[in-house]
């Protein structure tokens, strides 16, 4: 009895607050309201999302998110390796210092860059100290990219670090004993074995980057910059919930598809490696 009853409240909760809301925006995205208040089914909301203005927004979000993910990977992988190889006495502290900024409120971390890049910010202060002309750093695509890399870098480093730490060190020694030079050992052993960490890092950076509206609002301004801004504006400013729902559904689909692709990549990759090893 208890076994059956125990999950009752939970099942009610996930049905009511997870499944129903998503079905609702799915419904909203597929209808329009007639003048007499009745609903008609239509695809016009989705068609509108493929208007060149909105396609540009979608592509821009994808581009910035991919750039941020790649930069995080390139900056983060060496850092994860350094952390994994560090003297155990300092390692715990170093990893902790890496986690601390992540625990600070994400809005404060973004706000910090406003004070640095702003018109009367630190960077311009330094420039004028050296007698150089003032520049505008804030409200540019570069500022948004910087904000993303800053906010999400630890999400890339930590999963890779964890995988590197768990890696069987004897495999690396074996590869070295068999005559692999540093480069071969890295590309043939370390990198493939760390693939699960890379993939989880990539999805942990890409997902929030592609759907953010906070970073772009604070560091770029209020225009329709990214998909996140578009959804936020449709729901809170323009009040076109039907179009907003359609864009939200597209974003959701995009994320789910990329997660599925990533899972496939990770899954088959690891299995193949297993086969090759033996």
């Amino acid at each position: 009895m208890l076994k059956k009853l125990a999950s009752g409240p939970y099942l009610f909760w996930i049905a009511m607050f997870i499944i129903v809301p998503i079905l609702m925006i799915l419904f909203f995205s597929m209808v329009t309201v007639e003048s007499d208040g009745s609903y008609t089914f239509t695809v016009s909301n989705y068609v509108r999302a493929f208007d060149p203005i909105y396609v540009t927004v979608l592509l821009r979000s994808l581009k910035i998110a991919v750039q941020a993910t790649l930069i995080c990977l390139v900056l983060g992988y060496p850092m994860a390796m350094i952390l994994a190889k560090m003297d155990p006495r300092y390692r715990t502290t170093a990893v902790m210092l890496f986690v601390v900024p992540m625990w600070m409120n994400f809005l404060l971390r973004t706000y910090a860059w406003m004070t640095i890049l702003g018109k009367n910010g630190v960077l311009n202060g330094i420039l004028s100290f050296f007698g150089l002309p003032q520049m505008t750093f804030l409200y540019s695509e570069g500022a948004v990219l910087l904000g993303m890399v800053y906010n999400f870098l630890p999400f890339m480093v930590l999963p890779i670090y964890t995988v590197l730490m768990k890696m069987d060190k004897s495999l690396i020694e074996a590869a070295e004993d068999l005559g692999g030079n540093k480069k071969t050992v890295f590309t043939k052993v370390v990198l493939p074995l760390s693939l699960p960490g890379i993939l989880s890092g990539v999805s942990m950076v890409f997902m929030p980057a592609v759907s953010t509206f906070v970073i772009s609002n604070l560091l770029y301004g209020g225009q329709y910059m990214l998909v996140g801004n578009l959804i936020e504006q449709q729901f809170l400013v323009v009040n076109d919930w039907h179009f907003g729902s359609a864009v939200a559904m597209i974003l959701m689909l995009l994320i789910l598809v990329s997660m599925a692709v990533m899972n496939k990549l990770g899954g088959s990759g690891v299995e193949e490696k297993g086969v090759n090893l033996w």
């Binding site: 208890l2 902790m96 910090a112 930590l158 759907s211 994320i255």
Partner: protein, 257 residues
């Protein structure tokens, strides 16, 4: 030894990148001017105006209140859910766990607008209650996922043994199952609490009526430009996190995070 030097230098650069913005905020929180370009002298005025700022103080109160209620409710529902799921048929469990992972995988903004759509359609006024419901919703999946593995690690048929020995189901749960899964419950509760404290996007869409948490307060102030009070707030928050982590580090000597 060039290698070692490059490694040190790189570590230094990355940590510099991570900490420079926080350091800038901290330094300018003591600046006797609204500007963050020039140092005008030392002051504690911004800290004073932070503590006398009603909006921020009220938001802090709501942040803690919501986090406490949401994490307790989510932990209770999630723990019993994991217990129920554990004894379910495997296909059923799989299907439910898929639904469970929706709030984790979905972008926050989609979760936020979908919950907002539900509340508005049900004619519930957006405010404290809707924000708490939303927080419970995104916290439960993490509690389930941290309790379930502990149940699976449990020696098999523990519950049956207790029942055979004459325990009532509730007594068996309390005395046999609960002690086994306690670490998972504590982890789940902590994750729920920190997620709730840190949330912005979902709260932003599901609150109203002048109820706002700290993240929303920072957002609406930051949108209007640089506010030295926020610098002071950041410094205090950073110190809080740092001290908490140091205590945690001392107490458990975490090997891996």
């Amino acid at each position: 030894m060039v290698n070692k030097f490059i490694r040190r230098f790189y570590t230094f650069l990355i940590f510099g990148f991570l900490y420079a913005p926080i350091a800038v905020l901290a330094v300018f929180s003591f600046n006797d001017s609204k500007s963050t370009a020039k140092w005008e002298g030392f002051t504690l005025d911004w800290y004073q105006s932070l503590f006398s700022n009603n909006y921020i103080m009220k938001s802090l109160y709501y942040t803690v209140l919501v986090a406490l209620i949401a994490s307790v409710v989510a932990t209770i529902i999630g723990t019993f859910a994991a217990f129920g799921l554990f004894y379910m048929k495997s296909w059923k469990q799989k299907a439910i766990l898929n639904v469970n992972s929706i709030p984790i995988l979905n972008p926050d903004i989609v979760t936020g607008v979908s919950l907002m759509t539900l509340f508005v359609a049900l004619n519930v006024n957006l405010g404290l209650l809707t924000m708490i419901i939303a927080h419970v919703t995104f916290c439960i999946p993490y509690v389930v996922l941290s309790v379930l593995p502990k149940l699976k690690q449990m020696p098999g048929e523990m519950l049956e043994a207790a029942l055979d020995l004459g325990a009532t189901p509730w007594y068996a749960f309390k005395k046999v199952i609960f002690p086994e899964i306690k670490p998972g419950i504590i982890t789940g509760a902590l994750i729920a609490f920190t997620l709730s404290i840190d949330d912005f996007v979902i709260s932003f869409f599901t609150t109203g009526n002048g109820v706002s948490n700290l993240s929303i307060a920072i957002y609406s102030m930051a949108r209007r430009g640089i506010k030295p009070e926020i610098n002071a707030l950041s410094t205090l928050m950073f110190l809080t996190v740092l001290v908490l982590m140091l205590i945690l580090n001392k107490r458990t000597k975490i090997e891996e995070i």
